[in-house]
Protein backbone atom coordinates (compact mmCIF):
# COMPACT_ATOMS: atom_id res chain seq x y z
CA UNK A 1 0.00 0.00 0.00
CA UNK A 2 1.33 3.36 -0.92
CA UNK A 3 1.94 5.89 1.84
CA UNK A 4 -0.63 8.65 2.30
CA UNK A 5 0.29 12.08 1.00
CA UNK A 6 0.10 15.20 3.17
CA UNK A 7 -1.14 17.77 0.65
CA UNK A 8 -0.06 20.87 2.55
CA UNK A 9 1.98 21.61 5.65
CA UNK A 10 2.96 24.91 7.28
CA UNK A 11 6.46 24.79 8.68
CA UNK A 12 7.08 27.45 11.32
CA UNK A 13 10.80 27.37 11.87
CA UNK A 14 13.39 29.33 13.85
CA UNK A 15 15.78 31.24 11.58
CA UNK A 16 18.92 32.80 13.02
CA UNK A 17 21.87 33.89 10.85
CA UNK A 18 24.55 33.37 13.50
CA UNK A 19 25.15 33.34 17.25
CA UNK A 20 24.94 37.13 17.46
CA UNK A 21 21.72 37.43 15.44
CA UNK A 22 18.50 37.90 17.42
CA UNK A 23 16.59 35.36 15.31
CA UNK A 24 12.92 35.05 14.39
CA UNK A 25 10.30 32.58 13.22
CA UNK A 26 9.59 32.10 9.49
CA UNK A 27 6.70 30.10 8.15
CA UNK A 28 7.07 28.09 4.94
CA UNK A 29 4.47 26.10 3.07
CA UNK A 30 5.35 22.71 1.68
CA UNK A 31 3.16 20.48 -0.46
CA UNK A 32 2.78 16.77 -1.22
CA UNK A 33 4.86 15.15 1.51
CA UNK A 34 4.63 11.37 1.81
CA UNK A 35 3.77 10.12 5.31
CA UNK A 36 6.47 7.51 4.70
CA UNK A 37 9.23 10.08 4.57
CA UNK A 38 11.22 10.92 7.66
CA UNK A 39 11.07 14.32 9.30
CA UNK A 40 14.57 15.16 8.12
CA UNK A 41 13.68 14.12 4.54
CA UNK A 42 10.79 16.58 4.75
CA UNK A 43 13.30 19.27 5.76
CA UNK A 44 15.59 18.19 2.89
CA UNK A 45 12.70 18.66 0.45
CA UNK A 46 11.91 22.05 1.97
CA UNK A 47 15.59 23.05 1.71
CA UNK A 48 15.71 21.98 -1.96
CA UNK A 49 12.77 24.25 -2.58
CA UNK A 50 14.45 27.13 -0.69
CA UNK A 51 17.66 26.67 -2.72
CA UNK A 52 15.74 26.66 -6.02
CA UNK A 53 13.98 29.85 -4.87
CA UNK A 54 17.38 31.40 -4.16
CA UNK A 55 16.92 31.43 -0.39
CA UNK A 56 19.24 30.29 2.39
CA UNK A 57 18.44 26.66 3.35
CA UNK A 58 17.56 25.87 6.98
CA UNK A 59 20.58 24.66 8.94
CA UNK A 60 19.98 21.59 11.12
CA UNK A 61 22.22 18.92 12.63
CA UNK A 62 22.10 15.35 11.29
CA UNK A 63 24.52 12.53 10.68
CA UNK A 64 23.80 8.79 10.88
CA UNK A 65 20.03 9.09 10.34
CA UNK A 66 19.50 5.79 12.12
CA UNK A 67 19.13 6.97 15.70
CA UNK A 68 22.51 6.04 17.12
CA UNK A 69 24.82 9.03 16.74
CA UNK A 70 22.96 11.66 18.76
CA UNK A 71 23.62 14.44 16.26
CA UNK A 72 20.09 15.38 15.26
CA UNK A 73 18.09 17.51 17.63
CA UNK A 74 15.04 19.79 16.97
CA UNK A 75 12.25 20.77 19.35
CA UNK A 76 9.18 19.86 17.29
CA UNK A 77 5.68 20.94 18.33
CA UNK A 78 6.84 21.51 21.88
CA UNK A 79 8.74 18.26 22.31
CA UNK A 80 12.41 17.29 21.83
CA UNK A 81 12.65 14.86 18.87
CA UNK A 82 8.95 15.49 18.19
CA UNK A 83 5.71 13.62 18.79
CA UNK A 84 6.96 10.05 19.01
CA UNK A 85 8.50 8.01 21.82
CA UNK A 86 11.96 6.48 22.08
CA UNK A 87 13.12 7.89 18.74
CA UNK A 88 15.46 10.63 17.61
CA UNK A 89 14.27 13.22 15.08
CA UNK A 90 15.84 11.25 12.20
CA UNK A 91 13.60 8.28 13.06
CA UNK A 92 10.49 10.43 13.31
CA UNK A 93 8.14 9.97 10.37
CA UNK A 94 5.67 12.29 8.74
CA UNK A 95 2.84 9.85 9.51
CA UNK A 96 2.88 11.41 12.98
CA UNK A 97 1.50 14.65 11.50
CA UNK A 98 -1.81 15.68 9.97
CA UNK A 99 -2.58 17.32 6.66
CA UNK A 100 -2.78 21.12 6.89
CA UNK A 101 -1.01 21.18 10.26
CA UNK A 102 1.41 23.92 11.34
CA UNK A 103 4.59 22.28 12.59
CA UNK A 104 6.72 24.41 14.92
CA UNK A 105 10.45 23.66 14.86
CA UNK A 106 12.76 25.26 17.42
CA UNK A 107 16.37 24.65 18.42
CA UNK A 108 17.26 23.22 21.87
CA UNK A 109 16.89 26.12 24.27
CA UNK A 110 19.47 26.34 27.03
CA UNK A 111 22.06 28.86 28.15
CA UNK A 112 24.68 26.08 27.89
CA UNK A 113 23.60 25.25 24.30
CA UNK A 114 23.90 28.52 22.36
CA UNK A 115 22.46 28.64 18.85
CA UNK A 116 25.10 28.61 16.11
CA UNK A 117 22.73 28.96 13.16
CA UNK A 118 18.99 28.35 12.67
CA UNK A 119 18.33 25.00 14.41
CA UNK A 120 21.96 24.10 15.08
CA UNK A 121 23.13 24.49 18.67
CA UNK A 122 26.58 24.18 20.16
CA UNK A 123 26.63 21.08 22.38
CA UNK A 124 30.33 21.35 23.26
CA UNK A 125 29.18 21.69 26.88
CA UNK A 126 28.52 17.92 26.94
CA UNK A 127 32.04 17.24 25.65
CA UNK A 128 33.45 19.47 28.37
CA UNK A 129 31.55 17.52 31.03
CA UNK A 130 32.91 14.24 29.65
CA UNK A 131 36.43 15.60 29.59
CA UNK A 132 36.04 16.57 33.25
CA UNK A 133 35.62 12.97 34.37
CA UNK A 134 33.75 10.70 31.98
CA UNK A 135 36.62 8.30 31.54
CA UNK A 136 38.73 5.68 33.33
CA UNK A 137 42.34 6.65 33.96
CA UNK A 138 43.45 3.63 35.98
CA UNK A 139 45.64 1.18 34.12
CA UNK A 140 43.44 -1.84 33.47
CA UNK A 141 46.30 -3.91 32.08
CA UNK A 142 45.96 -6.54 29.39
CA UNK A 143 42.81 -8.46 28.50
CA UNK A 144 41.83 -10.34 31.69
CA UNK A 145 40.45 -13.86 31.75
CA UNK A 146 36.67 -13.76 31.30
CA UNK A 147 36.00 -14.97 34.84
CA UNK A 148 38.79 -13.05 36.58
CA UNK A 149 36.63 -10.01 37.36
CA UNK A 150 33.12 -11.14 38.26
CA UNK A 151 30.43 -8.65 37.26
CA UNK A 152 26.90 -9.36 38.53
CA UNK A 153 24.36 -9.69 35.72
CA UNK A 154 22.18 -6.89 37.17
CA UNK A 155 25.14 -4.47 37.31
CA UNK A 156 26.15 -5.25 33.74
CA UNK A 157 22.57 -4.64 32.57
CA UNK A 158 22.21 -1.34 34.44
CA UNK A 159 25.59 -0.20 33.17
CA UNK A 160 24.63 -1.02 29.58
CA UNK A 161 21.25 0.72 29.95
CA UNK A 162 23.03 3.89 31.09
CA UNK A 163 25.64 3.53 28.35
CA UNK A 164 22.84 3.71 25.76
CA UNK A 165 22.94 7.52 26.16
CA UNK A 166 23.89 9.08 22.82
CA UNK A 167 24.42 12.56 24.26
CA UNK A 168 21.84 14.24 22.02
CA UNK A 169 20.76 16.74 24.69
CA UNK A 170 17.02 16.02 24.57
CA UNK A 171 17.05 15.78 28.38
CA UNK A 172 18.32 19.35 28.64
CA UNK A 173 15.84 20.52 26.00
CA UNK A 174 12.92 18.80 27.76
CA UNK A 175 13.80 19.96 31.27
CA UNK A 176 12.05 23.11 32.49
CA UNK A 177 15.34 24.01 34.20
CA UNK A 178 17.64 23.07 31.28
CA UNK A 179 19.28 20.61 33.63
CA UNK A 180 21.89 18.15 32.33
CA UNK A 181 21.41 15.75 35.24
CA UNK A 182 20.12 12.83 33.16
CA UNK A 183 23.09 13.02 30.80
CA UNK A 184 25.64 13.37 33.61
CA UNK A 185 24.00 10.65 35.70
CA UNK A 186 24.03 8.25 32.73
CA UNK A 187 27.72 8.91 32.13
CA UNK A 188 28.54 8.52 35.83
CA UNK A 189 26.38 5.38 36.19
CA UNK A 190 27.62 3.35 33.25
CA UNK A 191 31.14 3.56 34.65
CA UNK A 192 30.30 3.39 38.37
CA UNK A 193 28.45 0.08 37.96
CA UNK A 194 31.53 -1.73 36.64
CA UNK A 195 34.67 -2.75 38.58
CA UNK A 196 37.14 -0.62 36.60
CA UNK A 197 34.92 2.44 36.87
CA UNK A 198 34.30 2.09 40.60
CA UNK A 199 37.87 3.09 41.46
CA UNK A 200 37.35 6.73 40.47
CA UNK A 201 33.60 6.90 41.05
CA UNK A 202 33.67 9.60 43.73
CA UNK A 203 36.16 11.84 41.97
CA UNK A 204 34.24 11.43 38.71
CA UNK A 205 30.90 12.46 40.24
CA UNK A 206 32.46 15.49 41.89
CA UNK A 207 34.29 16.71 38.79
CA UNK A 208 31.49 16.16 36.30
CA UNK A 209 28.91 17.87 38.51
CA UNK A 210 31.27 20.81 39.08
CA UNK A 211 31.74 21.18 35.32
CA UNK A 212 28.01 20.85 34.67
CA UNK A 213 27.29 23.67 37.15
CA UNK A 214 30.05 25.85 35.74
CA UNK A 215 28.60 25.59 32.23
CA UNK A 216 25.26 27.06 33.29
CA UNK A 217 22.89 24.09 33.26
CA UNK A 218 20.02 24.32 35.75
CA UNK A 219 19.29 22.08 38.71
CA UNK A 220 17.08 18.99 38.74
CA UNK A 221 13.57 19.25 40.21
CA UNK A 222 12.63 15.65 39.44
CA UNK A 223 9.81 16.37 37.00
CA UNK A 224 10.87 13.26 35.07
CA UNK A 225 10.36 14.93 31.67
CA UNK A 226 13.89 13.97 30.59
CA UNK A 227 13.26 10.24 30.98
CA UNK A 228 10.05 10.44 28.93
CA UNK A 229 11.65 12.46 26.13
CA UNK A 230 14.96 10.57 26.07
CA UNK A 231 15.21 8.62 22.78
CA UNK A 232 17.06 5.88 24.69
CA UNK A 233 14.74 5.93 27.73
CA UNK A 234 17.57 6.50 30.21
CA UNK A 235 16.01 6.07 33.66
CA UNK A 236 15.94 8.86 36.25
CA UNK A 237 17.05 6.30 38.82
CA UNK A 238 20.48 7.17 37.44
CA UNK A 239 19.92 10.68 38.81
CA UNK A 240 19.28 9.22 42.28
CA UNK A 241 22.56 7.33 41.93
CA UNK A 242 24.43 10.48 40.88
CA UNK A 243 22.94 12.39 43.84
CA UNK A 244 24.05 9.56 46.14
CA UNK A 245 27.55 9.30 44.65
CA UNK A 246 28.02 13.05 44.76
CA UNK A 247 26.75 13.52 48.33
CA UNK A 248 28.86 10.61 49.60
CA UNK A 249 31.90 12.05 47.83
CA UNK A 250 31.28 15.43 49.43
CA UNK A 251 30.60 14.10 52.93
CA UNK A 252 33.64 11.83 52.89
CA UNK A 253 36.00 14.72 52.27
Amino acid sequence: MADKILKKLNIKVWRQKNAADKGRFETYTIENISTGSSFLEMLDILNDKLIIDGQDPIAFDHDCREGICGTCSLYINGRPHGPDTEVTTCQLHMRKFNDGETITIEPWRAKAFPVIKDLVVDRTAFEKILRAGGFISVNTGGVPDANAIPVPYEDAEESMDAAACIGCGACVAACKNSSAMLFVSAKVSHLAKLPQGKVEAKKRARRMVAKMDELGFGGCTNTGACEVECPKSISITNIARLNREYLLARFSE
Binding site: N77, R79, D213, N222
Partner: protein
Protein backbone atom coordinates in the same frame (compact mmCIF):
# COMPACT_ATOMS: atom_id res chain seq x y z
CA UNK B 1 30.72 24.02 52.99
CA UNK B 2 30.78 26.94 50.57
CA UNK B 3 31.63 24.52 47.76
CA UNK B 4 28.71 22.36 48.80
CA UNK B 5 26.29 25.28 48.68
CA UNK B 6 27.41 26.49 45.25
CA UNK B 7 27.02 23.01 43.72
CA UNK B 8 23.61 22.24 42.24
CA UNK B 9 23.29 18.91 44.06
CA UNK B 10 24.39 20.49 47.35
CA UNK B 11 21.79 23.20 46.96
CA UNK B 12 19.08 20.67 46.22
CA UNK B 13 20.17 18.65 49.24
CA UNK B 14 19.15 21.62 51.41
CA UNK B 15 15.70 21.64 49.76
CA UNK B 16 15.32 17.88 50.16
CA UNK B 17 16.37 17.72 53.80
CA UNK B 18 14.26 20.73 54.85
CA UNK B 19 11.31 19.39 52.84
CA UNK B 20 11.42 15.94 54.42
CA UNK B 21 11.80 17.56 57.85
CA UNK B 22 8.59 19.51 57.17
CA UNK B 23 6.93 16.26 56.03
CA UNK B 24 7.59 14.82 59.51
CA UNK B 25 6.14 17.96 61.09
CA UNK B 26 3.02 17.74 58.93
CA UNK B 27 2.49 14.11 59.98
CA UNK B 28 2.70 15.10 63.68
CA UNK B 29 0.56 18.20 63.13
CA UNK B 30 -2.19 16.25 61.39
CA UNK B 31 -2.16 13.53 64.05
CA UNK B 32 -2.81 16.11 66.78
CA UNK B 33 -5.31 18.18 64.81
CA UNK B 34 -7.47 15.28 63.71
CA UNK B 35 -8.42 14.91 67.40
CA UNK B 36 -10.60 18.02 66.85
CA UNK B 37 -13.26 15.92 65.17
CA UNK B 38 -13.22 13.01 67.61
CA UNK B 39 -14.35 14.82 70.75
CA UNK B 40 -16.89 17.64 70.57
CA UNK B 41 -16.32 18.56 74.22
CA UNK B 42 -12.82 19.62 73.16
CA UNK B 43 -11.13 17.90 76.11
CA UNK B 44 -9.11 15.52 73.96
CA UNK B 45 -7.77 18.23 71.66
CA UNK B 46 -7.09 20.63 74.54
CA UNK B 47 -5.04 18.00 76.35
CA UNK B 48 -3.09 17.22 73.18
CA UNK B 49 -2.49 20.93 72.48
CA UNK B 50 -1.42 21.45 76.08
CA UNK B 51 0.97 18.51 75.84
CA UNK B 52 2.45 19.90 72.61
CA UNK B 53 2.77 23.36 74.15
CA UNK B 54 4.61 22.18 77.27
CA UNK B 55 6.60 19.15 76.11
CA UNK B 56 10.37 19.90 76.27
CA UNK B 57 11.07 17.99 73.03
CA UNK B 58 8.49 20.09 71.20
CA UNK B 59 9.98 23.23 72.77
CA UNK B 60 13.38 22.34 71.32
CA UNK B 61 11.91 21.44 67.95
CA UNK B 62 9.85 24.64 67.65
CA UNK B 63 12.70 27.02 66.67
CA UNK B 64 14.17 24.28 64.46
CA UNK B 65 10.85 24.01 62.70
CA UNK B 66 10.82 27.76 62.16
CA UNK B 67 14.28 27.55 60.62
CA UNK B 68 13.15 24.59 58.50
CA UNK B 69 10.27 26.59 57.09
CA UNK B 70 12.42 29.67 56.42
CA UNK B 71 15.17 27.67 54.70
CA UNK B 72 12.73 25.69 52.56
CA UNK B 73 10.81 28.79 51.47
CA UNK B 74 13.61 31.31 50.90
CA UNK B 75 15.93 28.73 49.31
CA UNK B 76 13.20 27.67 46.86
CA UNK B 77 12.91 31.18 45.43
CA UNK B 78 16.67 31.40 45.06
CA UNK B 79 16.93 28.01 43.32
CA UNK B 80 14.00 28.73 41.03
CA UNK B 81 15.73 31.94 39.96
CA UNK B 82 18.94 29.99 39.23
CA UNK B 83 17.00 27.45 37.16
CA UNK B 84 15.11 30.19 35.35
CA UNK B 85 18.44 31.74 34.29
CA UNK B 86 19.52 28.45 32.66
CA UNK B 87 17.13 29.10 29.74
CA UNK B 88 17.44 32.75 28.63
CA UNK B 89 15.40 32.23 25.42
CA UNK B 90 12.11 30.45 26.10
CA UNK B 91 10.31 28.04 23.79
CA UNK B 92 7.51 29.36 21.60
CA UNK B 93 5.48 26.17 21.80
CA UNK B 94 5.59 23.63 24.61
CA UNK B 95 3.84 20.30 25.15
CA UNK B 96 5.12 19.81 28.69
CA UNK B 97 2.01 17.89 29.77
CA UNK B 98 3.11 14.89 27.72
CA UNK B 99 6.22 14.25 29.75
CA UNK B 100 5.60 15.58 33.27
CA UNK B 101 2.82 16.46 35.68
CA UNK B 102 1.62 20.01 36.22
CA UNK B 103 2.33 19.65 39.94
CA UNK B 104 5.97 18.68 39.41
CA UNK B 105 6.56 21.69 37.16
CA UNK B 106 4.79 24.16 39.43
CA UNK B 107 6.12 23.37 42.89
CA UNK B 108 7.01 27.03 43.40
CA UNK B 109 3.48 28.18 42.50
CA UNK B 110 1.95 25.57 44.81
CA UNK B 111 4.50 26.38 47.50
CA UNK B 112 3.78 30.12 47.27
CA UNK B 113 0.04 29.48 47.61
CA UNK B 114 0.68 27.23 50.61
CA UNK B 115 2.84 30.05 52.00
CA UNK B 116 -0.07 32.50 51.78
CA UNK B 117 -2.19 29.96 53.65
CA UNK B 118 0.60 29.38 56.16
CA UNK B 119 0.95 33.07 57.03
CA UNK B 120 -2.79 33.46 57.70
CA UNK B 121 -2.85 30.15 59.57
CA UNK B 122 0.08 31.08 61.83
CA UNK B 123 -1.45 34.48 62.62
CA UNK B 124 -4.84 32.96 63.46
CA UNK B 125 -3.66 30.19 65.77
CA UNK B 126 0.05 29.89 66.57
CA UNK B 127 0.53 33.62 67.12
CA UNK B 128 -2.48 33.89 69.45
CA UNK B 129 -1.53 30.79 71.46
CA UNK B 130 2.10 31.80 71.73
CA UNK B 131 2.06 35.56 72.17
CA UNK B 132 -1.45 36.48 73.23
CA UNK B 133 -2.68 33.68 75.50
CA UNK B 134 -4.51 36.20 77.71
CA UNK B 135 -7.09 36.61 74.97
CA UNK B 136 -7.99 32.94 75.24
CA UNK B 137 -10.36 31.26 77.69
CA UNK B 138 -8.95 28.71 80.05
CA UNK B 139 -10.37 25.35 81.02
CA UNK B 140 -9.63 22.88 83.77
CA UNK B 141 -9.15 19.32 82.57
CA UNK B 142 -8.18 16.62 85.05
CA UNK B 143 -7.46 19.26 87.71
CA UNK B 144 -5.01 21.12 85.48
CA UNK B 145 -5.68 24.59 84.12
CA UNK B 146 -4.87 25.08 80.44
CA UNK B 147 -5.75 27.30 77.47
CA UNK B 148 -8.97 26.44 75.67
CA UNK B 149 -7.35 25.93 72.28
CA UNK B 150 -10.35 23.95 71.10
CA UNK B 151 -12.62 26.99 71.44
CA UNK B 152 -10.16 29.11 69.50
CA UNK B 153 -10.10 26.68 66.55
CA UNK B 154 -13.72 25.57 66.70
CA UNK B 155 -14.84 29.18 67.15
CA UNK B 156 -13.07 30.28 63.99
CA UNK B 157 -14.41 27.36 61.94
CA UNK B 158 -17.95 28.02 63.18
CA UNK B 159 -17.71 31.79 62.65
CA UNK B 160 -17.62 31.87 58.86
CA UNK B 161 -17.89 29.56 55.86
CA UNK B 162 -15.09 31.58 54.25
CA UNK B 163 -12.60 30.36 56.87
CA UNK B 164 -13.72 26.77 56.39
CA UNK B 165 -13.26 27.02 52.62
CA UNK B 166 -9.89 28.74 53.06
CA UNK B 167 -8.64 25.89 55.24
CA UNK B 168 -10.06 23.23 52.92
CA UNK B 169 -8.28 24.78 49.92
CA UNK B 170 -5.09 25.13 52.00
CA UNK B 171 -5.13 21.42 52.83
CA UNK B 172 -5.70 20.42 49.23
CA UNK B 173 -2.90 22.69 47.95
CA UNK B 174 -0.53 21.19 50.49
CA UNK B 175 -1.55 17.74 49.28
CA UNK B 176 -0.69 18.61 45.69
CA UNK B 177 2.65 20.09 46.78
CA UNK B 178 3.46 16.86 48.63
CA UNK B 179 2.33 14.59 45.79
CA UNK B 180 5.54 15.58 44.03
CA UNK B 181 7.59 16.81 47.00
CA UNK B 182 7.53 13.61 49.05
CA UNK B 183 9.28 11.27 46.61
CA UNK B 184 11.28 14.10 45.07
CA UNK B 185 12.91 14.71 48.47
CA UNK B 186 14.09 11.12 48.68
CA UNK B 187 15.29 11.16 45.06
CA UNK B 188 17.31 14.34 45.72
CA UNK B 189 19.01 12.77 48.74
CA UNK B 190 19.93 9.79 46.56
CA UNK B 191 17.66 7.51 48.59
CA UNK B 192 16.05 5.86 45.61
CA UNK B 193 16.78 3.15 43.07
CA UNK B 194 14.94 1.14 40.43
CA UNK B 195 12.96 -0.73 43.10
CA UNK B 196 12.26 2.15 45.45
CA UNK B 197 11.40 4.86 42.94
CA UNK B 198 7.88 3.57 42.29
CA UNK B 199 7.38 2.60 45.94
CA UNK B 200 8.29 6.13 47.05
CA UNK B 201 6.04 7.65 44.39
CA UNK B 202 3.10 5.54 45.58
CA UNK B 203 3.88 6.29 49.24
CA UNK B 204 4.04 9.98 48.37
CA UNK B 205 0.65 9.83 46.66
CA UNK B 206 -0.90 8.03 49.64
CA UNK B 207 0.66 10.48 52.09
CA UNK B 208 -0.48 13.52 50.10
CA UNK B 209 -4.04 12.18 49.86
CA UNK B 210 -4.07 11.55 53.63
CA UNK B 211 -2.76 15.08 54.26
CA UNK B 212 -5.22 16.74 51.86
CA UNK B 213 -8.24 14.82 53.18
CA UNK B 214 -7.05 14.90 56.80
CA UNK B 215 -6.61 18.66 56.97
CA UNK B 216 -9.69 19.58 54.95
CA UNK B 217 -11.99 17.16 56.78
CA UNK B 218 -11.57 19.22 59.99
CA UNK B 219 -13.13 22.49 58.71
CA UNK B 220 -15.57 20.39 56.69
CA UNK B 221 -16.67 18.66 59.90
CA UNK B 222 -17.38 21.99 61.59
CA UNK B 223 -19.05 23.31 58.44
CA UNK B 224 -21.46 20.39 58.23
CA UNK B 225 -22.01 19.76 61.93
CA UNK B 226 -22.49 23.32 63.23
Amino acid sequence: MSKFLTASIGRKFIMGVSGLFLVVFIAVHLTVNILLIFDDSGELFNQAAHFMGTNPVVKIMEPLLGIGFLVHILWSFFLEYQNWKARPVKYDRKSSGVSSTWTSRNMLVLGALVLVFLIVHVLQFFWVIKFNPESMNSVIIGGEEMEDTYSLVAGLFRSSVAYDLFYIVGGILLGFHLSHGFWSGFQTLGLSNKHWISRLQVLGKIFSVIVAIGFSIIPLYFLIKF
